[in-house]
Every structure is written in structure tokens, then in C-alpha cells.
């Protein structure tokens, strides 16, 4: 039996003016378990709190009810009061007689009656309270960053600089991501390589950062503070420790038919190759599907020319198991496939290119050494038409419903760069809206129009057709209300961007939620934008939604600071009000597991003793470090095995009974 004290607060006149506090005290004296009841002017003041502490000692209270303002206001205060007096802080209940009683009712009789009922409900609940202790767990002081683009690199650098170990897992042979492919960056027109490659070098040489390139996350288990991750290191067929990065192997490789991923297929590469000159690590990789040796058993020229003896045809995929306290997803994006947007003739005409391909065509390190030429005949283009919103804002199913956000700005950048380098080239941009919210963004776009003479036309393209070696672009001009046909040498499509296709499986492994477009969902869209709802999983870059480089870097830093905050803790204190399953009642049906938004429930086969009978059963097990205490599982459970501490079935039923009495 509990020994309960009831303390009714006047809150000055806030409560006492409408509720007869003395009557409340009298009315609850006889409630089951109540051994003392008192009122006081300000319960939350030091005087009020010390009165509670005194009563705890004097009456040997096992718990108490405070009738006062909302628990959202002072529940924490009174829990501390309890703790100070040696009581478990969860042996406190609040009856909200201010916000939900005295402030809304004018009639003293009604308000007093309601206050008594609310107090009885709190007493009834408290009678069933049990001391709760929030679980603690250790934090492994190492973070994993999935993805080695600018988002992943920045996050890793920030975490590493704070003194924590970080691993980067990158699926391609080098870090750098999409940013490494870009020529210039808006709105300042810095060279992308000039600002990115030093960061890549920093990441590679940082004592706290370990790179797993040409590697994939294979399996994730565990929870916040203590994840176990299996990383699959794919066979490079080149020994990283021996290779000097001289590049002779790639030069000599006789197979030159593979499409260069880095150059967007505008150039071919060898079967053994280094993706680009500044690749990190600067170690080649053998594309086994393209390699003559792997296909026929012959050739082996690369091994012969390698002075260091680094080529190793026998290398195999390896699984590395590592532990982490936090995981950052930075899986990035890719442009969508344009096969459902046939009107642009992308697949048919070589001179219709995507913006990312255009970046490579402008890039001094690209396939044309930075000379802008038509891919079909290597001639200088006289007219270029840029088309925006290709597959973005599309609800017809051919593209994506969302705005890809970055296209307006990079198109203005491309248009401006072309006009600057080749003033004889006419540039048209066909747009629906030009969206430039960002520092110096609109000024940038206006400069393209006003200083560089780029023709912006509001209207969309109906079709592109090849005619006499040129491209005819039929489009509407909505301002002039005409339909026009532009003769162009090149058409550049601002293709919508979508999350990297690996994101979905990574999301599943992490039990991190995603939206219908496969972008990761944030824990709160405004207040927790870099955290996933899954504790210990953080989001960086485009994997969460389209964003440009400055925004990505800012978000990467924010995610890093959240990770640092987590790793700096010695122990993680969990939520005390967690779900728990009674193993003899559990049927093992998985209903709770299916509704848990956090993946906190797993099923184990365990020996259960039920009425003296011992048998192996499949039972639910709640990981208290992950459970957030929503209670979804408790209602899904058909047998009532699952219950929520602090809000148990019996506690809530007791409140119902007390109110309806």
C-alpha cells in the first residue's frame, strides 16, 4: 500500500480564487492511500518544496500528488523535490487544476468539484505507480559517415577535429562525390576542385579519419551509442599498401571500352583506372566486368608493368566489423533517368546533354579539356538552349513531384560561363519559374540576364527534334503568347535529382524512416532537421532533401555538432517511461514489432517459465535505450503482454474509474 501525500497549491489567487483549496484538501483526505493532505500558497516555491520534503519525512510518504499548474510546467520541479528527499522521482503525479480547471471555469462550486475529481484521478494513478529508473548505456566514441561526398567529408572533418574517430564508407573507388565533377560553383564561381580537393586531402590525412572507399555498408545492428556495422570492402584487385599511384597500369591497359562514370560516359576509361587525377585514395581499381584478364584469363599487362607489384588479381571482398556510437547518412543524389521524358530526345541526340554532363564538358580536366564542343561533331556550338524543370515538379509520373532546388542557380551559372567564354554563342534558358532564394542568388541570376545577355524565356519545351544536323526546339513563350522554334546546336537539360538508389537499403538497415521519394525524414522538420527519428542516426546533405553546396556544408556541420554532442557523453540516459513485455503473456505474434516506429522491439527465443512449466518461446524484447515510450505497441498487443511504464493499462483505467466514479 502506498503512503500518499496530497499538496494543493493556491498559485496565489490563480487557483485559490476559483477553487476552494481547503475543500479539496478535505475531500481527498479519505482517498485510498492518502495519509496527509495540505494546501500552500506557492507549492513550487522553496517554501512549498520544503513543506513537501518535510511531509515525506514526517509521514514516510511513498509518493505524492501536487495539485497545481500543468505538469508540462512543473512536473520536473517536483520530481527533483522527490529525488532530493530520497524518493523515486517517478512517484510524483500532478493534478492540473490551474490550466485545466481554475483558469477556465468561473463557477467556484463547479471548479472545486472538478479539482477534487482530478485530484482523485491523480491519487488513483499514483496508487499504482512503481519506482522507475531510466536505463543507462555506454557510448562508443566513434562515428560512421556513410557517403564520401562533400556532405560526408565535411561532417567527418568536423567530428574528427573535435577529437573523435570517424570512418567514412564510400561505395565508389574515391571520395569526392558529385562536387568533384563540377566545374565552377555558384554564386561566387569558385572552381569546385580548388575548394574540394584540399578537404579530400585533409580527410585522408586526418589522424582521426579512416577511409573505406570502394566499400559498402552490409549490415547494421545495435542502437544509439552502440551500433555494430559490417562493412564490405569490395576487391580493388590492387594492393593499396604497395601501390604508388604512378598510373602506368591505367595508361597501358589495352581495354578502353568501359564508360567513365566520373566523366558521365563522355569518355571511355581502361579496365584498370583511377577515376580522376585528384582521386583519394590515388589507387587504381580493376573493373572486373571490363578486364580482359578476368574475362579470358589472358592479358595481365597491368601486373607486368607495375613496378611495385601491387596488382593482385586474387584479392577478394572483405567484411570488416566496426562499432560506432553514431551514424551519419550522407548518401547524396543522382540525376534522374530521362527515359520517360521522350520529348527531349536525350537518348537519341548526342547534343542533348544533362547539366552534369555539361559540367564535365566545361571542366578543364574533363574529356574536352574544358573546350566546349558539341558531342556529336566536336564543333563549337553557336546556340545553346537550357531547359529547366526537366522532370521536376512533375506529378504525371514521368518525373518527381518536388522542386530539385539547385537547377535554377546552376543553369544561370552555366549560361553565364558560356557567355563569358564564348561571347559569340547565343544562350536561351526556358523556364517555368526562376527560384533564387539564397544569399546573392537573385543578384547572380540578374547578372546573367543583364550583364551577360542570356535570353530567359518563360515557357516550356514541347519537343526537341534533330533537323539537318542541328536541334530544333519547339517551345511556348508565355509572355509573348506565341509558340516558337529555336534552332540550337546543343540542348542542356536541368534533370531533376533523386536520392542515390542505395539510400533505400541503407534506410532499411538503419530503421531510419524515409518519405515516398526516398529522402530521409528528419526527426522534426523545423527543430531537429539533421536528426533522423531513429536515435543515433543523423542526416547530412541531399539524402534529406535537395540542397546546394553551401546548405549541404552547413547541414554537415550541424549533423557533426549533434554527433559530437552525443559522443561527448559518458553514458546515455534513456527514457524511464518505456514499454516492456510480460514474457508469460507474450504470444510472439510480432504485432508490436510491426507498429514500433523506432525498431525498438525485437523477438528472441527464450526459455520462459509459465506456471512452473519451462519452455522455449518466441517473445518480444524491448530495447529500452531505443524505446521513446509512445505506447503504440501496447495497443497493438492482443494479449496485453506489452505495457508502458508510467502509463500502464491499470494506471489509465484507474484514472478513468476515478473520473467516472
Amino acid at each position: 500500500m502506498q503512503r500518499i501525500g496530497v499538496f494543493v497549491c493556491w498559485c496565489g489567487s490563480n487557483i485559490a480564487a476559483t477553487v476552494d483549496v481547503a475543500a479539496v484538501v478535505e475531500a481527498v483526505r479519505g482517498e485510498p492511500g492518502v495519509v496527509c493532505a495540505a494546501d500552500y500558497q506557492y507549492m513550487c516555491s522553496e517554501g512549498g518544496q520544503s513543506a513537501i520534503r518535510k511531509a515525506i519525512e514526517e509521514y514516510g510518504l511513498s509518493g505524492f500528488v501536487v495539485c497545481s499548474c500543468s505538469p508540462r510546467m512543473h512536473e520536473a520541479t517536483f520530481r527533483k523535490t522527490a529525488a532530493k528527499a530520497g524518493l523515486n522521482p517517478y512517484m510524483v503525479e500532478i493534478a492540473n487544476i490551474r490550466e485545466q480547471c481554475s483558469w477556465i471555469h468561473k463557477d467556484r462550486q463547479y471548479a472545486t468539484e472538478k479539482a477534487i475529481i482530478l485530484t482523485r484521478a491523480a491519487v488513483a494513478k499514483l496508487n499504482l505507480n512503481t519506482p522507475l529508473v531510466a536505463g543507462e548505456s555506454d557510448v562508443i566514441k566513434r562515428a560512421l559517415v556513410i557517403g564520401g561526398g562533400i556532405a560526408g567529408i565535411q561532417t567527418a572533418l568536423d567530428i574528427a577535429d573535435a577529437g573523435y574517430e570517424v570512418d567514412i564508407v564510400e561505395k565508389s573507388p574515391t571520395i569526392g562525390g558529385k562536387m568533384a565533377m563540377l566545374d565552377k560553383t555558384f554564386p561566387t564561381l569558385d572552381c569546385a576542385a580548388c575548394i574540394l580537393t584540399p578537404k579530400m586531402v585533409d580527410a585522408a590525412s586526418h589522424d582521426n579519419i579512416k577511409l573505406y572507399t570502394y566499400s559498402e555498408v552490409d549490415e547494421v545492428s545495435g542502437f544509439v551509442g552502440n551500433f555494430t556495422v559490417k562493412i564490405k570492402q569490395k576487391a580493388r584487385s590492387v594492393n593499396k599498401d604497395l601501390c604508388t599511384g604512378c598510373g602506368v597500369c591505367a595508361e597501358k591497359c589495352p581495354s578502353k571500352k568501359a564508360r567513365s562514370e566520373f566523366d558521365q560516359g563522355l569518355r571511355n576509361r581502361g579496365a584498370i583506372y583511377i577515376p580522376f587525377a585528384q582521386a583519394i585514395p590515388n589507387v587504381p581499381v580493376i573493373d572486373r566486368d571490363a578486364c580482359i584478364h578476368f574475362k579470358t584469363g589472358k592479358c595481365g599487362l597491368c601486373a607486368k608493368v607495375c613496378g611495385a607489384g601491387a596488382v593482385d588479381f586474387g584479392q577478394r571482398d572483405e567484411i570488416v566489423t566496426r562499432q560506432y556510437g553514431a551514424i551519419v547518412v550522407a548518401t547524396g543524389f543522382r540525376p534522374i533517368a530521362l527515359d520517360r521524358l521522350g520529348e527531349y530526345q536525350y537518348a537519341q541526340c548526342a547534343d542533348v546533354v544533362t547539366s552534369l554532363e555539361f559540367e564535365r564538358l566545361c571542366n578543364a580536366a574533363g574529356p574536352t579539356k574544358g573546350k566546349l564542343v558539341r558531342p556529336s561533331n566536336h564543333e563549337h556550338p553557336k546556340t545553346i538552349v537550357f531547359v529547366q524543370c526537366v522532370g521536376s515538379r512533375d506529378t504525371s509520373g514521368c518525373g518527381k513531384e518536388y522542386c530539385s532546388k539547385i537547377c535554377c542557380m546552376y543553369t544561370a551559372k552555366h549560361a553565364m560561363l558560356v557567355r563569358e567564354k564564348y561571347p559569340d554563342t547565343q544562350v536561351y534558358v526556358l523556364y517555368i519559374d526562376v527560384r533564387t532564394p539564397g544569399k546573392n542568388f537573385d543578384e547572380f541570376y540578374r547578372r546573367a540576364v543583364e550583364e551577360y545577355g542570356v535570353h530567359y524565356i518563360k515557357g516550356m519545351v514541347g519537343k526537341v527534334a534533330e533537323k539537318n544536323g542541328r536541334l530544333s526546339v519547339q517551345a511556348s513563350d508565355l509572355i509573348a503568347n506565341t509558340q516558337m522554334t529555336l534552332e540550337a546546336d546543343m540542348v542542356v537539360l536541368a534533370a531533376a535529382i533523386e536520392p542515390d538508389p542505395t539510400a533505400r537499403s541503407i534506410g532499411t538497415m538503419l530503421t531510419a524512416s524515409m518519405d515516398t521519394n526516398d529522402f530521409f525524414t528528419e526527426a522534426h522538420p523545423k527543430l531537429r532537421p539533421v536528426e533522423s527519428p531513429t536515435a543515433g542516426v543523423f542526416l547530412s546533405g541531399v539524402c534529406q532533401g535537395p540542397k546546394d553546396i553551401p546548405e549541404t556544408v552547413a547541414q554537415a556541420g550541424a549533423a557533426a555538432s549533434k554527433v559530437i554532442g552525443l559522443l561527448s557523453k559518458e553514458k546515455l540516459v534513456g527514457n524511464a517511461c518505456v514499454a516492456g513485455s510480460g514474457e508469460t503473456l507474450c504470444n510472439g505474434c510480432s504485432a508490436c514489432e510491426n507498429v514500433c516506429p523506432y525498431g525498438a522491439i525485437e523477438y528472441v527465443i527464450r526459455e520462459v517459465s509459465d506456471h512452473g512449466k519451462r519452455e522455449l518461446r518466441r517473445v518480444a524484447q524491448v530495447n529500452e535505450a531505443i524505446c521513446q515510450g509512445c505506447g503504440a505497441c501496447t495497443v497493438a498487443c492482443p494479449s496485453g503482454a506489452m505495457d508502458l511504464k508510467g502509463f500502464t493499462n491499470l494506471q489509465i483505467l484507474a484514472e478513468v474509474d476515478a473520473i467516472c466514479r
Binding site: R393, T395, I432, G459, V461, G462, K463, Q474, A475, S476
Partner: protein
Amino acid sequence: MQVSEREMAKSILRISGVDTKKCMKCGKCSGACPAFGSMDIHPHQFVSMVEEGNIGALLESKSLWNCLSCFACVERCPRNVEPARLIEAVRLTVIRRQGANHLKPEEIPGLLDADLPQQAIASAFRKYSK
């Protein structure tokens, strides 16, 4: 009985099943339209004029008869607005006011010639029959 333009707009939306509010005014329909040059009011204008209830001008428009019903605009629209259905609904409104059918199935065999695409016949039926 005089029907207000507002009511007519409503009935056109109902006949066509088109939600004009989905339009984001990109003009792709007009960019794709092969009959654009022979139209006085263009596909994208149809959408916004119906949305605004500006039906009188549409009823008089020769675009109703120059639309090929090729559905290029429907095919290309990124928002599934389907302007051709709207044009069709306006055309129907006009035809219903005029009364009789202007093309009967019996007349078809006489009109057939080898170069006439099937689609043109279907289109003619759409335009000249109730």
C-alpha cells in the same frame, strides 16, 4: 435561359473532369501543340480562362475547331491537367447549344479516303457529334 459564365465554367470542369488548379502555368501544353499556329486561344490559355470563368470568349474561339485532339498536351503536361479534355468540354458545350449532330456514322464510308488517318475520323466524331 441565360446561364452565367461561372456556372458554365463549373459544368465544363465537371464534364471534363479537369482540375485547373493543378496547372503550374509552365506552358508545356502550348509548347507541344502542333496546331498552335492556327489557334486564337492557346491550350494554356484555355486552362487559365476556365479557371477564371472567362467562358464567353472560349465559346467563340476558333481553337475549338482547330484542336486536333491529338492529346499531345495531355501527354506532355507534367501535372496531369489534360488541357485537351477542357477544350473538348467547351466544344461539347457549344455543340449541345447548336442541337443536331453534324456528322452521322452513315456518312463516314463516303468520306473515307486511303490517306485519312483513323485518328482524324475519331476526332471529327468528337467535334461534330453530341
